[in-house]
Symmetry: C2
Subunit: 325 residues, 2 copies
């Protein structure tokens, strides 16, 4: 007998419910934000062939599906609270569901983000997650707060997920030890939730890098009405592969810059803060166990200038990829 939609949710996804007065299984879930708190909401739609390959391990996919949404909360400085899951599946594959739900619920537990509602249906493999976070009124990190003179920071490492994608596409070959690192960055991104919380009141703007550093910085610049100058070599140093002894010759300076600036799928935080806050940012990075590096500066003049370590202009189109590009 085929499993019904309610069976699927309750069999694979129902867990203990804490913050939500009513969990999975009624027409609506109920959420009660603490007094004075606002709710941050973000939604992502992941489609097979577009956002992930059909070959991806289901457990890792479960992890990534929630990770990319938690990353949006991190970029707002919100603490994870709950999420809903919409899942279209071509068929009920119990092994797949078992692995997917394991990965999904593991990261949900890790970040204290509970599943409160869901809808499953037959259809092309699609994952729709809406995530809810909590933050004090007025505390959200927005894209619109960058000021001329602010430093531009990036968390963690960038560009490696793109290397793995290029290996899958057959355009690049990597030694196994480097490919494993890149693949883990692509398939198991780490949402920078703790850093996002630590940046409240310190960063002037923030976004998470999903489409590529330059493309996502463009959203900050448009929202803030400002321009910027980026040091392509400082950004390239944040690619793990850059300093790896097994780095192949094909990964030259130009390739590393491109990966760092337009790689995408990084789920790191790109944020700005005044130079006077450098020590504060360093402490936020330290206490949240998340490296952060300065890679540029906000400018009053509109537009984005990309320079090398010596300040000379770097040519290239680093606009990132667009899901409708």
């Amino acid at each position: 007998m085929p499993a019904g939609e309610f069976d699927l949710i309750s069999r694979y996804f129902q867990g203990p419910v804490g913050r939500s007065p009513l969990g999975v299984g009624d027409d609506c879930a109920l959420l009660a934000p603490a007094q004075g708190m606002q709710l941050a909401v973000s939604t992502d739609l992941l489609v097979e062939g577009r956002h992930f390959l059909s070959t991806v391990d289901a457990e890792r996919l479960g992890h990534k599906a929630l990770a990319v949404n938690l990353s949006d909360l991190a970029a707002c400085g919100a603490a994870p609270l709950a999420f809903t899951l919409g899942l279209a599946l071509p068929a009920v594959d119990e092994a797949w569901l078992d692995a997917f739900s394991r990965g999904l619920l593991a990261i949900a537990r890790e970040y204290g983000c509970e599943l409160v509602g869901g809808d499953t249906t037959r259809g092309p493999l699609t994952i729709a997650i809406t995530v809810f976070g909590e933050l004090p009124a007025g505390a959200a990190l927005l894209r619109s707060g960058a000021q001329p003179g602010d430093d531009i920071w990036v968390s963690g490492t960038i560009g490696d997920a793109r290397l793995a994608l290029e290996v899958f596409r057959g355009t690049l070959s990597l030694p196994a030890e480097l490919f494993d690192i890149a693949r883990a960055r692509m398939e198991r991104p780490t949402p920078r939730v703790a850093l996002g919380l630590a940046l409240r009141g310190a960063a002037s703007s923030a976004i998470d890098i999903s489409d590529g550093l330059v493309g996502d910085l463009g959203h900050i610049l448009r929202a803030s009405g400002a321009g910027a100058c980026i040091d392509a070599d400082a950004a390239a140093r944040q690619v793990i592969a850059a300093a790896h002894p097994a780095r192949p010759a094909a990964l030259d300076t130009a390739a590393l810059r491109a990966c760092a600036l337009a790689g995408g799928d990084d789920y790191e935080l790109l944020f700005t803060a005044p130079p006077s806050a450098r020590k504060t940012i360093e402490c936020a990075a330290h206490t949240s166990h998340t490296p952060a590096a300065r890679i540029g500066r906000i400018e009053a003049a509109p537009g984005l200038r990309i320079v090398d370590a010596h300040g000379a202009p770097v040519e290239g189109n680093f606009g990132g990829f667009d899901h409708f590009g």
Copy 2:
């Protein structure tokens, strides 16, 4: 130049923002429920070929996509607040987007439910909506409150959407005047939000009918640990086609009962209330301009008995359809 994902949201879906401190366009939307209010959350995933036909008018699809989510809020007695939209499209079709967004935003305005976030991507046509409503703590209508002796009520009309579906499937032929009515019920369902609000404190349980009356009543019975007896003829009288002068011979008593009990896609409220509350329910129906009819009673003994107007058992499998059936 193809439209990017952010362009799509801002070009077609961005409207004035009222209750949400921050609308579409940042990593997260921010929602601030009024003090003492809980947030009701529901999510639905609509897939072409499964939940709607490729021939459906895009404006009507926009209406229905939000209507089915508002119906979940209605079933909880929650007042609509906001929603997020995830949209996968095979290609950027401007005429389609224009019509879809027109239908979607029209019903959003009608019910005071604003779009606060979105994600668009290329992929098989899929609509993922998460809707948020507001209600006082403890006021939610749940599935679990039905008590033996309670009346079972149904709002509006049921079964006609299924008639339209059967016409599209080629298993039924209807005169144009009747088909138009049935098709409007299928393609432009009316979420019973006002009735849901009016039933707070009066109904003992509620659900919206999406998979069919019997199937959805089953959710109330399981959640409430009770059984029920339904009058199939009282239910069949709620099919518009039942009393229509153009009703064809194929729509006999058995067919009308089946449509009423297992039709699905009705988005009417099925709810229970003690007989002592009949006048209250009638007033709630009157003030919300929504008809409601009594069609059965909750029983202590588990299981569902279906009888005719004379109390004789009615045979048949009215379990409704399941999206994984």
